[in-house]
């Protein structure tokens, strides 16, 4: 039995005859050439396979840095009978405890950043950001959302029929006054079958025409606008934007794709799911209810709308993006609107409502 031995002290190659001494528990080496150096035997129990390869296997011995023995297939199979730990992994340089410690630290750091640091930073940032900056952020996130939805093929266009937009702006101004907002938000209707609405930074609200088609009356629209204005009043969109930017970056760091496309993609994806916290959603609902009440608008149509959409979402599965898909407990919210809601007048007269329904008769590219 022969092999090529490197003793780990020098690069000299020793062509050796191998003998197994089971009694002494040793693998011994006798130089094949004359006049060669003495070679220390290996304890059989410490012999390990580094790697199986085309010629057979490369072996090492525990506790002996760099010692290597290349043997043929037959020698490998023979040694397997005598070396009990041949296929056990060489001991890692890192003990399990230290690995666990570092993993724990990383998990603590990551969750701490995600759930404590990032939300706080985002909340503070949203409060101190100047209005001009918020406006620009709003414009850029609207642009991002439009281009993201355009990814599906057909470009998204804005609905601009003047009488419909005027009716919508009148309703918006009325709600803003009732809710105590400093300025009326810029409300834009985008032509899409998506049943959803978004609040964006800088006093912007986006409505998709799918929502108008499914609202069954102006008061539900007023309720949804009130909800989105609640987000606007509480700076939720700006906060979410800051949080998502940080989150996208964290994901980039964790997946090793720091400057790659996935970071930007995830940030945009998160942007379109207006995933506010449960508290933020409750607060926005509360804002909608008090605003509707102050404006003298009926709130029961909003409850009916929530119920209808909730049923459809449950029936069609979670893939359909709807008002409720990112909002917790649709049943809760509907119950709350029913409980705390007030009677009142419809949000618009029939003429205005019909004009709003036809707002997509005239379309233009969206220019945020």
């Amino acid at each position: 039995m022969r092999g090529r031995l490197n003793d780990g002290r020098t690069t000299a190659v020793h062509d050796v005859h191998l003998t197994v001494d089971p009694d002494a528990g040793q693998l011994r080496f006798e130089p094949a050439a004359d006049g060669a150096v003495r070679l220390e035997p290996w304890p059989l129990a410490d012999v390990r396979v580094v790697e199986r390869n085309g010629q057979g296997a490369r072996l090492t011995v525990g506790g002996w840095e760099g010692a290597r023995l290349q043997v043929g297939v037959e020698a490998r199979d023979f040694l397997a009978l005598h070396c009990p730990n041949l296929h056990r992994r060489p001991r890692a340089r890192w003990s399990g405890g230290r690995v666990a410690l570092w993993c724990l630290l990383a998990v603590v750091g990551l969750t701490g950043t995600l759930f404590v640091l990032l939300p706080r930073v985002a909340h503070q940032a949203a409060l101190v950001l100047p209005a001009s900056l918020e406006r620009q952020l709003g414009a850029s996130s609207e642009r991002g959302m439009v281009s993201m939805l355009t990814l599906g093929g057909t470009p998204i266009r804005r609905c601009v029929a003047p009488t419909g937009q005027a009716a919508l702006d009148r309703l918006g101004a009325r709600l803003a006054t009732a809710g105590g907002l400093a300025e009326a938000p810029r409300i834009a209707v985008l032509d899409s079958s998506i049943v959803n609405a978004f609040a964006l930074p800088g006093h912007r609200v986006l409505l998709f025409s799918g929502l108008l088609d499914r609202a069954e009356g102006p008061s539900a629209i007023a309720g949804i606008l009130g909800h989105e204005m609640g987000h606007v009043a509480h700076h939720d969109p700006t906060e979410a934007l800051v949080r998502n930017a940080g989150l996208g970056l964290l994901v980039g760091v964790a997946t090793g794709d720091l400057f790659g496309g996935s970071t930007a993609g995830i940030a945009t994806l998160l942007l379109t799911r207006n995933a506010y916290s449960r508290e933020a959603e409750r607060a926005a609902d509360g804002f909608a209810l008090t605003t509707l009440a102050a404006a003298g608008i009926e709130s029961l149509p909003l409850a009916r709308f929530y119920r209808r959409i909730g049923r459809e979402a449950a029936a069609s599965g979670a893939l359909v993006p709807s008002l409720l898909s990112t909002h917790p407990d649709p049943g809760d919210r509907q119950a709350r609107v029913e409980r705390e809601g007030h009677d009142g007048a419809p949000a618009m007269d029939d003429k205005d409502w019909q004009a709003l329904l036809r707002i997509c008769d005239k379309q233009a590219p969206d220019e945020p």
């Binding site: 000299a12 190659v13 760091v253 090793g256």
Partner: protein
């Protein structure tokens, strides 16, 4: 030495024919399967497997490079890389938050945001140098040949000072000093590199590379001058004018020239390196590699264009249907993200399989050595071993191997 008293257990040795040159690339096989396995596992583990993938790939590369009859061995593990990454997370998380916030600020206040970006950019530059140095030291410490370990000494701070100094000098001289800067950093690294107790020396001079550098430099400067004299505003020009094509051609030629320069510099670095009395030489054919790289680039580009056309066509079809409330749009967005990930992964696999392997094979097979028998008398390294892997380098994607 005493033999076992019983019958000696003799098994014949099945020895392969040793390769002819001092350095040979002897493909261990199974690269394609390994790459596919790595890509799939990395994808399904959301990137966590990439450390183990990288270690497995390095075992392939190292094990395929045979020096004087014996292959290199990579002894690093995925676990070490993973721990290095965990350590790096601690530094990166707060930095990442600040970076993300300034990105937002830049939208509103381009001047302050831009300045902050500049400072962060410099911070990244410093970090990258630091990381490059440490990654190289880690990889060398995990390189074994005939049981003897390689190493790199020096200090990352000294290296950082050197790089910053030479980068400033390159900037002041408008890039003309670049080859000297490259040579100086290579010399710093090489002169501190050793295999066991056999120390490397690098004897290159920047002036030897200036000719290879000045050609792409002149092309680049020429296209800049052309851009200014033709007053081409790339942002406003609606119709492409002949000037734009000319400038575009200039850029392409410049990129090509850079590729040629880096291959020439690589060959020069090999030729000017010696380990003790062992002088390394190289007969690397730059033209052959260029043809292969450019060919692959053109083929990949063509495939990409065809795929894009097909995907867009598919989405046009999907987008027209409008089934359900926006469901088709969500689906097509998900589909395009998935298609992008798959295409990117496939491109990487093919690039490594066709280009990286060809480059490594060419470099190895054209290498020569004097005094090869000196390689039999190298003693074990006494250099300390870094215990954790190159976590930061992972985040910056430094070191393809």
């Amino acid at each position: 030495m005493t033999l076992a008293a019983d019958t000696p257990l003799a098994v014949p040795l099945s020895e392969p024919a040793p390769p002819s040159g001092p350095v040979r690339f002897m493909d261990r096989g199974g690269l394609f399967g390994l790459l596919v396995k790595n890509a799939v596992l990395t994808l399904v583990t959301f990137g966590i497997y990439r450390f183990w993938a990288r270690a497995a790939l390095r075992r392939y590369w190292w094990g395929s490079i045979v020096v004087a009859g014996d292959p290199l061995e990579y002894t690093g593990t995925g676990l070490e890389l993973f721990i290095g990454f965990l350590m790096f997370l601690g530094i990166m998380l707060p930095f990442g938050l600040v970076y993300g916030l300034t990105a937002l600020l830049q939208h509103a206040n381009p001047i302050i945001g831009g300045l902050l970006r500049l400072v962060e950019g410099l911070g990244f530059f410093v970090l990258i140098q630091f990381v490059t140095f440490r990654a190289r030291r880690y990889r060398l410490s995990r390189t074994l040949w005939r049981g003897v370990r390689a190493s790199q000494g020096g200090s990352s701070w000294a290296y950082l000072r050197l790089v910053i100094g030479w980068t400033l000098l390159s900037a002041i001289t408008l890039g003309i000093a670049y080859p000297w800067a490259r040579i100086a950093t290579t010399r710093y690294l090489m002169d501190r590199t050793a295999l066991g107790d056999l120390e490397a020396r690098f004897e290159g001079r920047g002036s030897d590379l200036i000719l290879a550098w000045i050609v792409p430099y002149v092309i680049f400067a020429g296209s800049i001058v052309l851009l200014i004299t033709l007053k081409i505003d790339t942002t406003k020009e609606a119709k492409p004018s002949p000037g734009i094509f000319l400038v575009g051609l200039g850029y392409l030629t410049w990129l090509f020239g850079l590729l040629v320069y880096f291959l020439i510099e690589l060959r020069y670095t090999i030729r000017k390196t010696r380990f003790g009395e062992v002088q390394i030489g190289s007969l690397l054919s730059v033209g052959g590699l260029i043809a292969r790289i450019v060919g692959f680039g053109i083929a990949a580009w063509l495939v990409l264009v065809v795929a894009m056309v097909a995907i867009i066509g598919l989405f046009m079809g999907l987008g027209g249907v409008h089934a359900g409330a926006g469901a088709s749009q969500t689906l097509s967005i998900i589909a395009s993200v998935v298609a992008f990930v798959i295409a990117f992964g496939l491109f990487n696999i093919l690039r490594i399989f066709w280009i990286d392997r060809a480059i490594v094979r060419q470099i190895c097979d054209t290498m020569s050595m004097t005094n090869v028998d000196r390689l039999d008398r190298i003693g074990q390294s006494t250099a300390p071993m870094p215990s954790a892997g190159e976590g930061m380098a992972d985040a910056f994607d430094i070191g393809a191997f």
